[in-house]
């Protein structure tokens, strides 16, 4: 009588967790292999913010940006922008972590073999963001420290409420990430796509300015992005700025968007990923 061999791969929640941990550990090792990149991710945002700081000086009277206060409710434009930059770093980390990592796997020739692993593919993508999120949290904290020393950074509100508000925003961002990764699979190009998309999302969600300065015809784009409400609510909590909507409404919107985006992102990912497999282009780059 022939015995059926037991499969070595027994997918379970525990094996999924082990896989996530293995992916995160691999990325962590790879990241610290290039320590200059870490230094660069602390100082690059500071460099990019320097022109904004001096531009603010050119518009200020006795160090007070009165025009800015009329739009946002705070004179402290640098804290407003620094907070936006720190949150934007997370947008970048999801876009680069999910979209660009697939391109890296394509180039390294390991995407097809990874795809055969007994792990749900969206989870594979989530795994690629774990190290990236942790590293972003560390480098953003350091960036805030350095920029705070140079330009000043003062927050006075409820930090825990702000953190809890940022959470659904971040989870919702994964929905974006899933759909975006599927596009990378189809197009087989990531650099320009990731660069332009993440920059535009940051631009329209108001990472560096209050969105009510956008021209009227562009404002609907900003209001359609859930991240706009995330930025706005977090600033409302920490800087007591004028918000677009009452903060509880913005938080409720973020939670609703979180579910919609995850559902939509997964649906797009499954559809396009299936198409890529049918076309047989998964291993191409």
């Amino acid at each position: 009588m022939m015995s059926i061999p037991v499969s070595y791969a027994q997918p379970s929640w525990l094996s999924h967790l082990r896989a996530l941990f293995a992916i995160a550990r691999k990325d962590w090792k790879q990241y610290w292999r290039y320590p200059l990149s870490a230094v660069s991710s602390v100082f690059q945002p500071v460099i990019w913010l320097t022109p904004v700081y001096f531009m603010g000086q050119a518009f200020s009277v006795n160090g007070q940006a009165r025009g800015f206060a009329a739009y946002s409710g705070t004179y402290d434009y640098m804290s407003f922008i620094l907070l936006g930059t720190a949150l934007s770093n997370f947008i970048g980390s999801v876009f680069w972590g999910m979209g660009y990592s697939l391109k890296n796997d394509m180039d390294a020739g390991v995407l097809e073999s990874n795809w055969l692993a007994p792990l749900p593919r969206p989870l594979l993508l989530v795994g690629r963001t774990l190290t990236s999120l942790l590293v972003t949290a560390i480098t953003s904290a350091l960036m805030l420290g350095v920029a705070g020393l140079l330009f000043g950074f003062r927050i006075s509100g409820n930090g825990i409420a702000a953190l809890l508000t940022a959470l659904p925003m971040l989870i919702g961002l994964y929905g974006f990430g899933f759909a975006f990764s599927a596009l990378v699979l189809i197009m087989r190009e990531a650099n320009t796509m990731v660069d332009i998309s993440s920059y535009m999302v940051q631009l329209f969600s108001g990472s560096n300015f209050p969105v009510n300065v956008l021209p009227r015809w562009l404002l609907p784009v900003a209001l359609a992005l859930p991240l706009t409400y995330g930025f706005d609510a977090v600033r409302g909590f920490l800087l007591k700025t004028k918000t677009l909507l009452p903060i509880p409404v913005e938080v409720a919107l973020l939670v609703v968007f979180m579910f919609i985006m995850i559902w939509l992102g997964l649906a797009v990912f499954r559809r396009l990923e299936r198409r890529v497999r049918m076309l047989g282009t998964l291993g191409q780059h």
Binding site: L36, S40, F43, Q44, I47, W48, T50, P51, V52, F54, M55, G56, Q57, A58, F59, S60, V61, A65, R66, G67, F68, A69, A70, Y71, S72, Y77, I81, M187, E189, N191, T192, M193, D195, I196, Y199, M200, Q202, L203, N208, F209, P210, V213, L214
Partner: protein, 289 residues
């Protein structure tokens, strides 16, 4: 006794051969550029979205009633912050593109595995850099025209000065901007992964040269550093040429400095190239990556 017949070499280096080689390099680079449609899209999208972040920031700082503009006018000499920022960010992007494209031209040949074989061809080696730069210049011209059209047609950018003087400034800036690119490309032959040098150079331009603000708001020591960077003078001259009606006399001090910087960086770029080429051939680093 059989006479040894010496056959003439097939390759006869001459000026015409150099021009043909330059044309071939130009053609190759241009074909590669068109092979990737996303690069073409980037050429159209980046000129708008990169300055947009700063322009919208300036709009916020100006306030709904434009009260911040009085202060900006006092500091910058113009209330046309849109034109002011577009010029600053465009010069920054130009230098950035040159550092990546020209600076990494030889490095890309290393990646493709073609540098060594090209190096033993009878072509003057510096021509490989010049050829890549010529192709890159065409894409920069497209980039500048796209920027000008997008901001004047769609965003109502006001240019009170002269486009001809703007062109003159571009011509005066080319030696310094590309000389720096040549110097950088030469370093990359030996230093290989030199992305952090690009970050350093473009970071310095961003911090010191006043891409979005008048240099006069910087502390004294920073103004001193800014004065030694050619990009500061490119931005100054370009703003005077396109945004003011001062004419050529207003540009002359900056043009003189640009000429000096141009000579310095072209000579430095060429000498560095010769030195790094010799060093890389001695150490065998030409074909390594």
């Amino acid at each position: 006794m059989s006479a040894l017949v010496k056959s003439p070499p097939l390759s006869q280096p001459s000026l015409l051969a150099e021009i043909r080689a330059l044309g071939a390099i130009f053609y190759r680079e241009w074909k590669i550029f068109l092979r990737y449609p996303s690069w073409v899209i980037a050429l159209i999208v980046w000129p708008v979205i990169f300055p947009a972040m700063y322009i919208l920031g300036a709009r916020a700082l100006a306030g709904p009633d434009g009260s911040g503009l009085t202060q900006f006018l006092h500091a910058a000499g113009t209330d046309n912050f849109l034109g002011y920022i577009v010029i600053g960010t465009t010069v920054w992007m130009w230098q950035n593109i040159v550092l990546w494209d020209v600076g990494f031209a030889l490095r890309q040949e290393q990646w493709r595995g073609t540098l060594e074989s090209n190096w033993i061809s009878p072509t003057f080696r510096f021509s490989f850099l010049i050829g890549s730069s010529l192709a890159q210049m065409v894409s920069v011209v497209i980039f500048l025209v796209v920027t000008l059209l997008e901001f004047t047609l769609f965003f109502g950018m006001r240019l009170d000065g002269s486009l001809w003087l703007g062109l003159l400034v571009i011509l005066a800036a080319i030696p310094a901007i590309y000389g720096l690119g040549f110097a950088f490309a030469s370093l990359v032959i030996t230093a290989k992964e030199a992305q952090n040098f690009v970050f350093l150079v473009r970071g310095m331009v961003m911090i010191f040269c006043g891409i979005t603000f008048p240099v006069s708001v910087l502390p004294g020591w920073m103004q001193g550093v800014a004065n030694w960077l050619p990009q500061t003078h490119v931005m100054n001259a370009m703003r005077k040429a396109l945004l003011t009606t001062g004419g050529l006399p207003a540009l002359l001090p900056d043009l003189e400095k640009l000429a000096l910087f141009g000579v310095f960086w072209l000579v430095a770029g060429y000498l560095l190239f010769v030195w790094m080429d010799r060093r890389a051939r001695k150490t065998g680093a030409i074909g390594q990556f």
